[in-house]
């Protein structure tokens, strides 16, 4: 049933041209412009070409915001007027949440995967093993979408939900050093490496780009998986209580 309903959710998401324009076309355009400006320079901090670093940060940044797919679907289906119709159906509504989640994880992942191919063709960005890349993208996507699912479940006002989501996304990018490097301080260094979803995702992808299985990459992968499992467990409990 969960998978069957996912097909309808997928149809809806794939027709949401505004979201696709914001979350897929915009990074595509930005990568094209910034990649052209990079022009063969090296990114000293990450130790990869600047074009690769641009592609990496754009994909991660828009992965963070791709959680809005989950937020919007939750809002329209289970938190506004439609919730009465959905609750009148003979299935527990917390299960329908997983139909949404399956689609948004795959759809968000698919968009990022398409972007990696675009950057490989345009700027010869090295993403490493395709299998490892797909796995990493799906782990990152799952972490982001489950985080947004919990934002939708725990915050009552839609405005606050959106503000919290945007704050987390920009805050993560700030800690991840997207715009500038934070001061060299133990706490900030930890938060900038393991303490935010942006850095965790970046480290996971970076390991693949470098073709390494370094401890940082493995650790971030484990943290993201544990984070996702925790988010699913919390949402399952909350969802069950909300739609009893």
């Amino acid at each position: 049933m969960i998978l069957k309903l996912s097909t309808f959710v997928f149809k809806r998401v794939s027709k949401d041209l505004v979201s696709i324009a914001i979350l897929f076309v915009t990074p595509l355009v930005l990568i094209t412009i910034l990649g052209t400006i990079a022009d063969g320079a090296m990114n000293e901090t990450l130790g990869i070409p600047q074009a690769d670093a641009v592609a990496l940060s754009m994909i991660m940044a828009f992965q963070l915001f791709a959680g809005f797919y989950t937020l919007e679907l939750m809002k329209y289906d289970l938190l506004q007027d439609r919730k009465w119709r959905m609750m009148a159906l003979p299935i527990p509504m917390h299960r329908y949440m997983y139909s949404i989640l399956i689609v948004t994880i795959l759809f968000g992942g698919l968009q990022s995967f398409a972007l990696t191919h675009y950057t490989r063709l345009m700027y010869d960005v090295t993403w490493g093993s395709q299998l490892r890349l797909i796995g990493a993208i799906l782990i990152i996507s799952a972490a982001m979408q489950t985080m947004y699912l919990n934002i939708a479940l725990f915050i009552k006002s839609f405005k606050t939900m959106e503000r919290v989501a945007v704050s987390i996304s920009f805050g993560s990018m700030l800690l991840g050093g997207v715009w500038f490097q934070l001061p060299d301080h133990a706490v900030l260094n930890f938060l900038g490496t393991y303490g935010n979803p942006y850095s965790l995702g970046e480290n996971l992808l970076l390991g693949g780009m470098r073709g390494q299985w370094n401890i940082e990459g493995i650790l971030t992968g484990i943290i993201l998986i544990l984070f996702t499992v925790m988010m699913i467990a919390i949402s399952a409990d909350k969802g069950r209580r909300m739609y009893r």
């Binding site: 309903l5 027709k15 949401d16 119709r85 009148a88």
Partner: protein, 313 residues
């Protein structure tokens, strides 16, 4: 008996939304649930489907306890929501396929049910279109169709005709009649009295969380039918006729307004024939009509004429 609700109470903070409500719905009937804004109609519907928890009372649907068999009971009920809650980004067909799938329909059975439902609501020619291109009436009809695709035994309709044109409303009311003829029991909630008058076999009036009246239209009208209005058009001496009419037992008032004699008489007093005789005596009757109370008179008598700006729960 399709549904039996006994003594249910629902509070929102200090606001008592439902106060010891009893309601029973018989198989095969169309029960019109009438009430002003904020009367508690939607709260009652949500409560009897288990969508909200009630503070006390018992609800049994199809003879089963709602809280012990909620999912099984829901399989046999269709809910038409007050708001249009279709998926605007899915075609009419896909909307019905979604809801049909939830009820476990698949393959040929699902296809057949979708086709039949689209035909019932008159949207067969629009099955591949997105609802964004639909008129308000078409969206409302699709909204109803989504609750019909699994062929429910019991259909709950919460103000399904709000904000649509007369033609669409008429079509929907005819459709409800047809569904009822096909064996569907219907609970129809509205504040449009003429709709209840047109389709309901029995009426319940809810106000401020209380059931204040219940019965057939005729029974409810009977409750307030303590007086009748008679308008008499005479060609002769009206003043003399008025004096004689006023002297009749049971006549409360007889006055001339714009050349017509308006009489208010006690219902069942049998004055009509005597009034006609007086009319003939004073120059001849040109016209006479007697106004019976309507369901609207019942509703306004029982709920009052003051404005109601309440919130539905």
């Amino acid at each position: 008996m399709i549904a039996k609700i006994e003594n249910i109470v629902k509070r929102y903070g200090n606001h008592l939304a439902l106060d010891c409500v009893d309601l029973s719905i018989k198989e095969g009937e169309i029960l019109g649930l009438l009430g002003p804004n904020g009367a508690g109609k939607t709260t009652l519907l949500h409560g009897m489907m288990g969508l909200i928890s009630v503070d006390s009372g018992e609800i049994s649907i199809f003879g089963e306890d709602l809280y012990q068999n909620k999912q099984q009971i829901k399989r046999k009920i269709g809910l038409v929501t007050q708001e249009v809650t279709i998926f605007e980004d899915l075609t009419a067909w896909d909307n019905l396929a979604f809801f049909g799938s939830v009820y476990g329909l698949k393959g040929e059975e699902l296809k057949k049910n979708i086709q039949e439902t689209l035909e019932i609501v008159g949207l067969t020619n629009y099955q591949k279109k997105l609802p964004t291109k639909f008129s308000g009436g078409m969206k409302r009809r699709l909204n109803i169709a989504c609750a019909l695709v699994h062929k429910p035994k019991f259909l709950i309709m919460d103000e399904p005709t709000v904000g649509i044109d007369a033609q669409s409303r008429n079509y929907i009311l005819e459709t409800i009649g047809k569904l009822n003829e096909m064996g569907t029991t219907i609970l129809y909630t509205t504040h449009y009295i003429e709709e209840v008058e047109a389709i309901s076999s029995r009426v319940v009036i809810l106000d401020q969380g209380h059931v204040i009246a219940e019965g057939t239209k005729e029974e409810l009208i009977e409750r307030i039918q303590h007086e009748e209005k008679i308008n008499l058009q005479l060609s002769g001496d009206k003043d003399a006729a008025v004096k004689e009419i006023q002297a009749l037992p049971g006549v409360k008032e007889a006055i001339v307004i714009k050349g017509e004699i308006h009489i208010i008489s006690q219902a069942g007093s049998g004055n009509l024939e005597q009034i006609l005789a007086i009319g003939k005596k004073h120059g001849g009757v040109m016209g006479i009509n007697s106004e019976k109370p309507t369901l609207e008179d019942v509703f306004l008598t029982l709920t009052g004429k003051g404005l109601r700006d309440g919130e539905e729960g």
